[in-house]
């Protein structure tokens, strides 16, 4: 009797466990012309455009929503999207009036100027707790309202004059306003939808409406997102591909394997694989506005000495690091501001680095001399061990390994590497519990100021705890730009960066370049490096 029970028992277990999954095999990863499959390294964290902060979310929102401007097909500039014609600008360049073109949401309702007003004010409302609300501080009274100070919601400089007209008032003239308007925080949102879903708004595919080239139809957390062509999109005729699948693949070699076997057609490659594909026709390099550096904590007595810092700066060979360890198409850095960031001087399109070139410096002899002098000034006979904190990712660990070996070999300075989980690393960075920290900064907007204002006295990201009156004055001058002379503004920024580098506040490492693999069958896939992280635009993409 007992044995007779055993067999059915095993059988039931088997059938039950297989049955559980029968439902999970939905659509297979078929390679058809209408579906494009993308591998993403991480999962979108927040698709509510008021609160988005991460790259993967930016990729989704840029394709399912549309604002006044969007990143153009050339991947560099912005082009008009929902704005109808050029805006009217007041003489003091502080008031803009935008006309909104005829466009619809995915539920058929028209896009109205009120949707913009609602979304922007919602982002600024303190209770929304939007982490990137500061992007909207350039609106008149934006900051004052957001920080619960003097202004009320009706004082904020955005107003729908009627369904089709939006009036925007600014705090100060903004040469890069159009770029800013392509940001997720400047996308419209529907008040009725936000109210209807409340806490669940944008938490799943159904809890939002879309006005972009695609609409989100499915979102399996940590797994995949499915976008389908939005037939209600005003420019739907341009959209060629019916379906986009974004697969979340965290393991680098898994993404490569899937790409090699054709299961995905676009994949991000990092680390070692780049060398295999570097000069391949399928590899697309996208320069990011990201600057990688090490920051030295000047609360440490040893690192407070300028000569010591200069020695460390000279003992890091950023060229060797880029070629030997990163092995990708990033650029070895000699300064703070990445090469593709604008200076917004006289020529608005001219890049900051073109006006202020900064070559990577590496000089072991000079570094040793400076270290010896620095130690003498400090009355020390040996450099103390320095703790370098970084993330616990593969690339961050490799960075640590390289730095440790470099400083030991070139200067005889011992480095202890602490690889920490993201949150812990961040907490220790903000609390100043480190000697050296590996730091990546991506500008919030396309202007050198987005990098340079990090290091003003008391700035929240001035982890070096460095303070220099001259630097502060220059930054303030450029920010206020009282004369309105954009060249003067640029000069002030160039001078400020020079002080920062001469004082060796940071050790510049590289300006990041991402590499994507794209199958030859995929045409007109647009990569843009503006905004939060690299952004993929599927509006024009076609599969042959």
């Amino acid at each position: 009797m007992k044995k007779r029970k055993l067999v059915p028992f095993l059988a039931i277990t088997l059938v039950a466990s297989l049955g559980v999954t029968a439902c999970s095999f939905g659509g297979g990863a078929k390679d058809d012309k209408d579906t494009l499959v993308i591998a993403s390294r991480s999962e979108p964290k927040e698709l509510d455009t008021a609160k988005t902060t991460d790259g993967p979310s930016g990729i989704v929102t840029a394709n399912v929503q549309e604002g006044l401007y969007r990143h153009a097909k050339d991947g560099k500039s912005v082009e008009p999207a929902l704005v109808d014609g050029e805006p009217q600008v007041s003489a003091d360049k502080l008031t803009y009036t935008f006309k909104i073109r005829d466009a619809k949401w995915s539920d058929g309702k028209p896009v109205r100027a009120q949707d913009f007003e609602f979304a922007w004010k919602r982002t600024l409302t303190p209770e929304t707790a939007a982490e990137y609300a500061m992007i909207l501080w350039d609106l008149k009274n934006g900051r004052a309202f957001n920080e619960k100070k003097t202004a009320k919601v009706e004082d904020v400089g955005v107003k729908a004059l009627d369904d089709k007209t939006l009036e925007v008032k600014l705090e100060k003239p903004l040469p890069y306003l159009k770029n800013l308007l392509a940001f997720p925080m400047y996308l419209p949102q529907r008040e009725d939808i936000v109210k209807q879903y409340g806490k669940d708004f944008a938490k799943n595919a159904k809890a939002n409406v879309y006005n972009g080239p695609y609409k989100l139809v499915d979102w399996k957390q940590k797994q995949s997102l499915t976008l389908e062509k939005n037939e209600n999109y005003w420019d739907a005729a341009t959209v060629k591909t019916k379906k986009i699948e974004i697969k979340v693949m965290t393991d680098a070699s898994a993404a490569i394997n899937a790409y090699t076997t054709g299961q995905v057609q676009v994949a991000n490659v990092g680390g070692d694989f780049i060398q295999k594909y570097k000069d391949d026709k399928e590899a697309v390099a996208i320069k990011e506005p990201t600057s990688a550096m090490m920051i030295m904590n000047q609360k440490n007595k040893f690192l407070a000495n300028t000569k010591v810092r200069q020695a460390l700066q000279l003992a890091f060979d950023s060229k060797e690091y880029q070629q030997g360890v990163l092995q990708d198409k990033s650029t070895a850095a000699g300064g703070l501001v990445p090469g593709n960031v604008k200076g917004n001087g006289k020529d608005l399109e001219k890049l900051f680095r073109e006006s202020a070139p900064a070559e990577p410096k590496f000089d072991v002899t000079e570094a040793k001399r400076l270290l010896a002098e620095g130690l003498k000034e400090l009355g020390m006979d040996k450099a103390p061990e320095l703790e370098l904190i970084g993330d616990d990712t593969t690339s961050a660990k490799r960075h640590g390994e390289y730095v440790k070996d470099s400083f030991k070999k070139n200067l005889g300075v011992d480095v202890k590497i602490s690889s920490l989980p993201f949150q812990q690393r961040r907490d220790r960075t903000t609390n100043g519990q480190f000697d050296l920290v590996a730091f990546l900064w991506q500008g919030d907007y396309n202007d050198a100021m987005s990098y340079l204002d990090l290091f003003v006295t008391g700035g929240p990201f001035n982890y070096a705890k460095w303070s220099n009156k001259e630097y502060d004055a220059l930054i303030k001058k450029a920010q206020e730009n009282k004369s309105g002379d954009s060249q003067e503004r640029l000069d002030a920024m160039i001078q400020a960066e020079k002080i920062l580098l001469d004082e060796a506040v940071i050790i510049p490492e590289y300006y990041r370049t991402m590499t994507y693999l794209v199958k030859p069958t995929v045409k007109d896939m647009v990569f843009s490096s503006e905004g939060f992280g690299e952004e993929l635009s599927f509006k024009w993409v076609q599969k042959k």
Binding site: K2, K3, K5, L6, F9, T13, L14, S17, L18, V20, T21, C23, S24, F25, G26, G27, G28, A29, E43, K45, E46, T53, P126, E127, A129, E131, Y132, M134, E147, K148, K199, K203, N204, K220, Q221, K222, Q223, S224, K247, V248, M249, T250, D251, S253, A254, N257, A258, T260, T261, Q263, D392, P421, F422, Q423, Q424, R426, D427, T429, T430, F461
Partner: protein, 308 residues
Amino acid sequence: MARYILKRFSLMIVTLFIIITATFFLIHSLPGSPLQNAEKLTPELQAQILAQYGLDQPIHIQYFKYLGGLVQGDLGTSIANGQSVTGLLMNGFSASVFIGAQGLILGIVIGLILGVLAALKRNTWIDSFATGTSIIGVSVPSFVLAATLSYFIGVELGWLPANLWGTYEHTILPSIALSFPVVAQISRYVRTEMVEVLEQDYMRTAKAKGISRLAITVKHALRNALIPAVTVMGPLAAGIITGSLVVESIFAVPGMGKIFVDSITSKDYTMVMGSTIFYSVLIISALFIVDLLYGIIDPRIRISGAKE
């Protein structure tokens, strides 16, 4: 039987309660803030977001609130992305359980067959083959196997999908990778036991009575040999859960492994609690099933009369 199951069940609930309590206080005592972007937040905003998740309250209040939600089947929302923990777990659940169960069953079946054959045909090539397989299974880490399988069978040979999820073929390689250690353990145990059992007196008696060879093997030998094999199934099932963490990431299986590790390192309290409860329930149930199986296979262990 029913009473025994009831008793076991109530013990399982108590165990689970202790686990929940211990994990709750442990995870809340870890250093670091659970907020993803605290770097860019003003202190007031941080406080506000913490308040949204009820993290500003004293820890014991949070604990009772959590328990209250749990009783109503509410696992809360993930701090990392604001989505419901139950939803996140359900997404990964089926894939994880599928490759886990398939790997375990595959491993047990192959392990049994290999073990029995090896014992019956001692010192032949079958025996050597079984020993060889079991040696690979015990001595090569499953993540090395997984990476090699994915690359060679999936990419170089192209016989099966290298990774990802979608069709049944996608489940084969991850299941094989997971099954190797199981095959190794089971075949080893079964072989050793079978060899011993085959030499017992009652086997000779059975043979003398003229029972067919197949019947002897299945009825007498295998059944007795199974007992120790069943004992290791509990730990094996737990081992598969651990193994699946790496295997899932190598094969890009949309399972729970990644969610789990990520949630701990990022201090996503609710997510950690949710996945801990989930895995604990799995392990506890596996142990329970093993206990039941044990009783079914070995009549000497009288479940109904079992007492502590």
